[in-house]
Symmetry: C2
Subunit: 321 residues, 2 copies
């Protein structure tokens, strides 16, 4: 089933069929009608592969997710899927499973498929740079949430502002001795949050770093309270750590809300449904996805963009007075 079949049935040339079905040129009402009804009768649908080869554009973007099991990323993926589908753009998904080598592979496979743009949440602030820069030579690359290169577009949250807001919120509640519990500092978001904390918090030197896990949240909580007994808030780099911290506090007999507040990042289901609910900074995913679309479809040679969106603290019982 090809344009030829439709053309034959409609009694027109294949070019006319193409013109009608791609809506890219004006055609007489008569031809338009004949082609449409012929296509409908045959149940014809254009072959996107042929079109892509000819147009040199696949209307598809590649998305490389650092770690799809991290609860935040499915939310991001959904926002992107929505936004891109809305533009008629398909999403070719790849998971880097937190591994720079797999990330490199994924990028390479997506480029071979001629994606019109590549969206990526870099695995590592440092080690993903080359992969991104190389991809950026071949197509439009948009870094999302995390960043590793200054040569490619970036759409993310303003972590400094978010950290500042959270600290202000804590200060209002009289909490001025927070400890920062980071996860893997190779992750750019964690890194930025930690740096902002160090710069802005009254206890900026109270920083612990570990990995992305509930257990690390637990361990770090014990360590924090031992090293700094006057701790009145645990400022966690992500939700999983925050939940671990809350659990540990409760295991140690603390009440929540109580003397030690806990706050996380990303506002995933985990903290919203937790008992007690945990405060967390929400990223404006829909806006970020819209910006990603805009950059992805932008005609090349646009100067490198850095779009930072404000995060909003969702205050919940874990930081209540």
């Amino acid at each position: 089933m090809t344009v030829h079949d439709v053309a034959r049935l409609a009694g027109v040339s294949t070019a006319s069929v193409s013109r009608v079905l791609s809506g890219r040129r004006t055609v007489s009402a008569d031809v338009d009608e004949r082609v449409r009804s012929a296509a409908a009768e045959l149940g014809y649908q254009v072959n996107a592969v042929g079109r892509s080869l000819r147009r040199q554009s696949t209307e598809t973007v590649g998305l490389v997710i650092a770690d799809i099991t991290n609860l935040f990323f499915p939310s991001l993926t959904k926002a992107l899927e929505d936004a891109f589908a809305h533009q008629g753009l398909g999403l070719l998904l790849a998971d880097a499973a937190n591994d720079v080598a797999r990330e490199r592979d994924a990028v390479s496979r997506l480029l071979a498929r001629q994606v019109d743009a590549l969206l990526i949440t870099p695995v590592s602030r440092l080690q993903s740079r080359r992969t991104i820069d190389e991809a950026n030579q071949r197509t439009t690359v948009v870094q999302l949430d995390r960043r590793a290169s200054t040569k490619a577009h970036y759409v993310g949250m303003d972590n400094s502002q978010a950290v500042s807001d959270v600290l202000a919120h804590l200060a209002e509640l009289g909490r001025t001795s927070p400890v920062f519990i980071g996860s893997d500092p190779h992750i750019s978001t964690t890194w930025e949050r930690q740096r902002a904390f160090s710069r802005l918090a009254p206890t900026g030197d109270r920083v612990l770093t570990g990995d992305f896990s509930l257990d690390w949240g637990r361990t770090a909580t014990i360590e924090a309270l031992e090293r700094w007994p006057d701790t009145d808030a645990l400022f966690c780099a992500d939700d999983l750590i925050a939940v671990g911290a809350v659990e540990q506090l409760r295991a140690m007999g603390h009440r929540l809300p109580g003397p030690v507040a806990v706050v996380g990042f990303d506002d995933t289901l985990l903290v919203r449904l937790h008992t007690p609910p945990v405060s967390s900074v929400r990223q404006p995913l829909a806006e970020m996805a819209a910006a990603a679309v805009e950059l992805a479809v932008s005609t090349a040679n646009l100067a490198v963009q850095r779009r930072l969106f404000p995060g909003t603290l969702q205050a919940r019982p874990s930081t209540a007075p």
Copy 2:
């Protein structure tokens, strides 16, 4: 950068370049070497669009997820992504957002892109059937987790067996008056679990159905205990409902483990990290993904397959004695 450039540099024909790079025909060691080094020198990578058009195969499968925000599906997606990437197959992702019209659209767009197979978790047991049957005329369709048509392959969990196992587990603990809290009965899994419950449970007529939400889990718990005061277990169709049920029980002053047990389905992060941890049936995602790959790449005209895998109950404090 095309085969021509490589051919010119290697001093061979484009046919030879193709033969080497696709590894589909034997070539002399000399030519092989010359082509490989020319390709490496140029940084040439084959254009998958050209290849797809010629081969009439995209090496890409479409995946239509009923609702990507449902925590279970990202896990499934990851398992699929792993399995298909391992075979060199790309995954084109679409989200149906629980809407049969959007599902229909998504399928249509994926077919236009000439996916080699279509994986789908049908939104509705009844209303997704036509979409699936129509797609099945055009390519290999594999229904995953949920099913709507008997004419297309299905890979899922044996819900009858799982329900039976859970009931046996509850019986061992002396709990013989369970209530089933279902979600939307349009979802095939919920429907199957409910039917199995009705058939196998001593209190098979104690069934409540609602929707996929935490609140429904809460509401249903209240209703269950009012209507059947001797209830000793809440058998929930999914984890979100189970967490809602646990929360409600605690709000009502019940202890857990305690007089009323709670069990869910899908073994998502939600129940594993909950306090107390909630028992749940785990689906063998990796095995299911492997089966999906096998069916997706199977040469057409294979009889319709129905592959059911056993679920395993992860017993946790919510069903402890």
